[in-house]
């Protein structure tokens, strides 16, 4: 096998949800014998490899396990079977407004969110101005986040995650934020982030348009399994046909 630099290697990944939900003490006293636990397998053995610097789109209908897979790669879920090897790259699930405290100012929330995502304080300070500028919040940055409009809130959140970059980015439908002008700007920023040749990206989206513009390859998930994986021109037309 030729030596290629893979950033992400996923092998036979399976993630199950046990429907044990929560137990109440009364219930467990009433039925001392173990109740049957319903197991739902959301991802049923997915394998793929992504070379460093590639951008992969993930498509599939609702409930086909796309988000679950992303969460497993980001380390939020444990894989029940199979392995995920990220080769020690830093990874972030680009998610909006993680760890925000609405009673604090925007500036404080930048630090809070950044530290949570694993950046050092110096690195955040260094990028602080860039984030504030990009978010177009102006003097609102020093007001509590609860006074923000929902558009301002997502602009700030997007700016934080877009400017504090990691080596592997996982995107789950986040490309539409704010008003038309900001949307264009964020799309452009996204594109420049994604096109950085060192960065490996996985995008989950329902919009074939976006995927066509951004991705190199497409992974099509169907009911937790890989239905197809390959270049855009091969997979997307078939997918569109399947969906219509």
């Amino acid at each position: 096998m030729c030596e290629q630099n893979y950033a992400i290697e996923v092998d036979n990944l399976k993630v199950r949800y046990k429907c044990l939900n929560k137990i109440s003490i009364k219930k467990s006293l009433m039925s001392l014998k173990k109740s049957n636990v319903e197991v739902f397998e959301a991802v049923r053995g997915v394998s793929f490899k992504i070379p460093q610097g590639q951008i992969m789109g993930v498509v599939g209908k609702n409930g086909s396990g796309k988000s679950t897979m992303l969460k497993a790669i980001a380390g939020i879920f444990a894989a029940d079977e199979g392995t995920i090897n990220l080769h020690n790259h830093s990874v972030s699930l680009l998610s909006i407004g993680v760890g925000f405290d609405k009673r604090l100012t925007g500036r404080e929330n930048i630090f809070l969110s950044g530290l949570l995502l694993g950046f050092t304080e110096d690195k955040i300070k260094e990028k602080l101005n860039e984030i504030i500028e990009f978010s177009e919040l102006g003097e609102f940055i020093d007001r509590p986040v609860k006074t923000y409009s929902s558009g301002m809130y997502s602009k700030l959140a997007f700016s934080i995650t877009a400017i504090l970059e990691t080596e592997i980015m996982l995107l789950d439908e986040v490309l539409s934020v704010g008003d038309a002008k900001f949307k264009k700007k964020s799309y452009k920023k996204m594109k420049s982030l994604i096109e950085n040749s060192d960065r490996t990206v996985i995008i989950v989206s329902h919009s074939s348009e976006t995927l066509k513009k951004l991705c190199d390859t497409i992974l099509w998930l169907h009911e937790g399994k890989v239905k197809m994986i390959g270049p855009i021109d091969e997979v997307l037309p078939l997918y569109d046909e399947f969906m219509s």
Binding site: L93, V98, L104
Partner: protein, 260 residues
Amino acid sequence: MRRFVEDIKKYKNYIVYSSKSQLKSEIANSHLSWLWWILDPLLFMLVYSFIALVVFGKGEKYFPIFVFIGLNCWQFFEKSVKQSVKLVNANKQIVSKVYIPKYILILIKMGFNGFKMLVSFSLVVLLMIIWRVPVSLNILYIIPVFAVLIVVTFGFSTFMLHFGVFVEDLSNVITVVLKLVFYMTGIFYSITSRVPQPYSSLLLKFNPVALIVEDLRRCMIYDSVPHRTALLVWFIAGSILSVLGIKIIYKYENSYVKVM
């Protein structure tokens, strides 16, 4: 364990920053702001003083300080343990979006509650000066006593955090149990002089908070030596609890999100 040390190093800044922000955001909206951190135990001290001095007519030497020490310790322990039960759920927004070792959330809460405890302990010191309580080098024992308090609190909290995710009504049970432990801790009475033997020594042996409170009073206001062996035993017990708790959390934390 090595993973624990590395994670602590990695998230150290976040713990500090997040505790600070929680403190800030708590006072952001109240008129008396940080004064509440002093007012709250002060008012409770008056309530318990009323019960003990007026209703039962039984006080202790330096009674307000006596109650204050007990109350501050107790509130730190109680709040940390109680909040741990619902902690994962309360931080759903974070937990379901990034990976974070879940006991970090406990440490943040303990930092938050610990700072409040420090603030109200400054009031204890002030009262000690006003009453001219004689102190000697015995007061240095407060350092190991606080260490025991922290370790024991953390140990219990890890277990609460874990089981709180899976058991819906744990918080109801814990509320009652903590209330019971509260009365068994001797916040507004002295276990040694009011509880008959053998119960008093049993309480001091098996209720770590009672032991800690009693020993803090001994070295802070009664100028004597704490129960050194019992403290050491609880320090070890607390450490074992913490290690087990951390192991359990590491093992199961990735399925917490699936339960919610």
